[in-house]
Amino acid sequence: MKFDQARWTRETPEEGGEVYEPLLAEKSSRAVETDDAPLPDDLTRDGIELPDPAEPELARHYTRLSQMNYGVENGPFPLGSCTMKYNPAFTEDVAALPAAATHPDRSTDSVQGNLELRHRLADSLARIGGMDAVTLQPPAGAAGEFTGILIAKAYHEQRGNDRNEIIIPESAHGTNFASAALAGYGVVSLPSADDGRVDVDALEAAVSDDTAALMLTNPNTLGLFERDIEAIADIVHDSGGLLYYDGANLNALLGRARPGDMGFDVMHYNVHKTFATPHGGGGPGAGPVGVVEELAPYLPTPQVRETDADEPDDGEAASDDASYERFEPEHSIGKVHGFAGNWLVLVKTYAYIARLGNPGLRDTSAKAVLNANYLASQIDYDIPFEPFHHEFVASADRDAADVAKRMLDYGVHPPTTKWPEIVDEALMTEPTEAESRAALDHLARAFDRAAADDDEALETAPERTAARRIDQADAARNPRLSWHALDDE
């Protein structure tokens, strides 16, 4: 298979140069004045200048831009820790149902459908995570982390405990550190042991009366399962701290183990990683948070519950007619989103979980782990840490960023590069369950061809993408962040 990404270029008449697809503003821009507004002049601006394309021009512009963009439906996308899997088409249709389009301030009686879906989704997520209660409000994974840490903070404060530290393994996602800091905590970074897992002795030494929580993902970012998780949980709990689960790697565990059963007290789910809601080039996602019963009173407001309706005699009948209400948990932390989160993403999540059910959820982890192990067995790279689950970190043994750029030429999106730093020139690879054996073989060839290419081929790559190698250092040194900045030059 040979790959060439669409590339649209056009000459710029003024300078005689050439640009890729021009900006909308370069094609057609129009200034309008606002002097005939139904308002006094001193309350209005003078005017505004914006692009003014006709719809056919608009359609071509965005179609061309889409062709210069790589998505999961273009080919393999094995970004480690990002879990890019196939997004089923039908979930878009159910989220687009007109009945889903309601205003957030609608009365409880008038949106029983929305509330039922929210309640059912929260219930499914609770069962999948082994948690007792779930909030759907956080609009992304990092927002979920922040929510979870605020819950831990409120819990400790309620008990009069003055704890000011969060412990985080050095290999954790950067958002863990940032979310803890945003909530006002000091961060204690925990080194990894030689086997790539949490160093239990170091953890023993790190916990204290100041420990509010330990944040952990399991499997960790090397794809390794923290086999000592029960001992880790005991150490944290004995110190009076809480155990937080980062759900970024939950795809590896679906139906195999549950954070709640491992001793985690609070967790977030990344629905755009685990439950195949599209990532949309950077969101919207959703980051529901699950908690054990003791922490349920601290969840954001509102929560949804089934009302004690006039239950029919046989306990089984009622679910079709059940009614739902919003309520504020007793010690609620308040809100982390102005309304109730990324609703349309939640509808897609519900549909995806329903499509899979028990067998599909369990098969997801089986095939995700099988694919990672199969791919690793087919490439000629050093993989220092194993046995891994859904992702592995290969060492490029030369500049991992160059290898990644070269892989683009072979029609695949490269892995995550240079992270985690535990592995030299890391290529962190997560194929997910959605790749066929043939696609994995293609991906393996891309790895090996890049490894075999000479230095010049790597340093000048990519050559088959819409743009050639971009000087990112220069872009940062001389920031031009809008078309106005280009005009100024």
């Binding site: 039908f90 149902l97 102005g338 499509r355």
Partner: protein, 452 residues
């Protein structure tokens, strides 16, 4: 993997464990052989004590069954004509936006960590940032936050950082959306800063009372235009000066429709603009798009992602995520924000929507937002027992009305007639009109007449 054969009606996955894992049984076996294990179960390195048996009691359903199930559930929502606003607006979204944004290269892509293969989305986000720069007059816009409330929270933490030596008070208007206030409190929970409110005078900022409230401890003054009650501010420049005199940031809340017509934020001294796009998505139960723009002076303190231009090795202009050293994946606990995944696809939709409208369409929409609000106020005011508007001000999209009847009772009675409005106080209701419900104003007025 579950074994046994079942009919296709009973098994919605056509023999596969997951409908989205492409493996045939033969391929699975061959792959297990290549790895050197007997079964998938042997690939898991999980202690027996915490192994889970796999049963969540969630039945798989077919695609068709799920469509029916969700449609049936959502049909329990009452069909109401919504005259609801207060920070979440239903503007008509053109079909072109739905169809173009749904192209899978946009929908199924990830954050643009490899810019050479993601030029399309990067350019679209650069164009989105550029539109915000034009609308606000500020030099820098990021390529999205979650919603207006979280953008306000980020603005406040930015103010706390850049004015750290000044003090720890954030001032907000007395009339502020509950959700925005609650999220602001959450974002400041990790700082020493607290939030105080200042009074309003007949629906807009009471400038003199604000002058008495503001002091040297203040790091940010927040105001909105239009306000949560739909009124248009008349003394924004003076608020900007007050903020400046006290070395505080002036943060203005607005939306692109209003920004296209009302006073330009930069010209009234705004240092930060936040808000919800109100374009690109219709009513979506509160899901939105957080705007964030600021002055170049605060560039290194901006939360979230920024797209900039650079050159590729052929000398052509290209786009890339830039200034990432501010971000959590590099700076970790010293990052300007924890935001990572944002609302990029919604930003794409908003940019498409603005481009589809063009400057005339956008400004016309803004003008109509003024005239419609004034018309609906006039109409409501003719009803016995209703006075509208309550505030003797110019309005944008929405108005507050006083009712003799208790507001919540009136609201409930209207709902049985098929209309949704806000009850915001004992005898105050709020009504919002856009192009999506303008045709129903006559019906609403008749219904209010019948129940007021």
């Amino acid at each position: 993997m579950e074994g046994g054969s079942v009919s296709s009606d009973e098994h919605p996955h056509g023999g596969r464990g997951s409908p989205f894992a492409p493996h045939t049984a033969a391929e699975t076996t061959a792959m297990l052989d290549a790895v050197g294990v007997e079964s998938e179960d042997h690939l898991f390195d999980i202690p027996e004590t915490i192994e889970f048996d796999g049963s969540f009691d969630i039945e798989p359903r077919s695609e068709r069954a799920i469509r029916e199930e969700i449609a049936t559930m959502l049909d329990r929502n009452h069909e109401l004509v919504e005259f609801l606003g207060r920070g979440h607006y239903d503007h008509y979204v053109p079909s072109a936006v739905d169809h173009l944004a749904d192209r899978s290269e946009f929908l199924t892509s990830y954050t643009q960590y490899q810019p050479e293969v993601a030029q399309g989305f990067l350019q679209a986000l650069f164009e989105y940032q550029s539109m915000l720069v034009e609308l606000t007059g500020l030099e820098v816009a990021n390529c999205s936050m979650y919603d207006a409330a979280t953008a306000l929270g980020e603005a406040a933490t930015l103010a706390v950082r850049v004015r750290a030596t000044s003090g720890d008070r954030v001032l907000v208007p007395e009339h502020l959306h509950d959700g925005r206030r609650a999220v602001l409190d959450s974002y400041l929970a990790g700082t020493d800063a607290g939030v105080d409110s200042y009074p309003m005078d007949d629906g807009i900022v009471d400038r003199d009372a604000l002058a008495e409230t503001v002091d040297e401890d203040c790091v940010m003054i927040y105001a909105e235009n239009p306000t949560v009650r739909g009124t248009i501010e008349e003394r924004l420049g003076e608020i900007g000066e007050l903020a400046d005199d006290h070395d505080a940031l002036f943060c203005l809340g607005s939306d692109p429709v209003a920004l296209s017509l009302l006073e330009e934020p930069a010209s009234v001294g705004a240092d930060v603009v936040v808000g919800d796009a109100a374009l690109g998505l219709g009513a979506a139960d509160g899901m939105g798009l957080g705007l964030f723009a600021t002055r170049e002076a605060f560039l290194r303190q901006v939360p979230g992602r920024l797209v900039g231009t650079g050159e590729d090795s052929e000398g052509r202009r290209a786009y890339t995520l830039t200034l990432q050293t501010r971000e959590q994946h590099i700076r970790r606990e010293r990052a300007t924000s924890n935001i990572c995944t944002n609302q990029a696809w919604v930003a794409l939709r908003a940019a498409m929507h603005v481009a589809w409208l063009g400057p005339d369409g956008l400004v016309d929409l803004a003008k109509e937002s003024v005239t419609r609000a004034s018309e609906v106020a006039d109409r409501l005011d003719t009803i016995d027992g209703v006075t509208a508007p309550v505030h003797d001000r110019h309005h944008f999209r929405e108005v507050v009305a006083r009712t003799d009847r208790e507001a919540s009772a009136l609201k409930d009675a209207l709902e049985t007639e098929g209309y949704a409005i806000h009850a915001i106080d004992d005898h105050l209701v709020q009504v919002c009109v856009t192009e999506t419900n303008a045709d129903c104003v006559d019906d609403l007025v008749a219904a209010v007449e019948a129940v007021a």
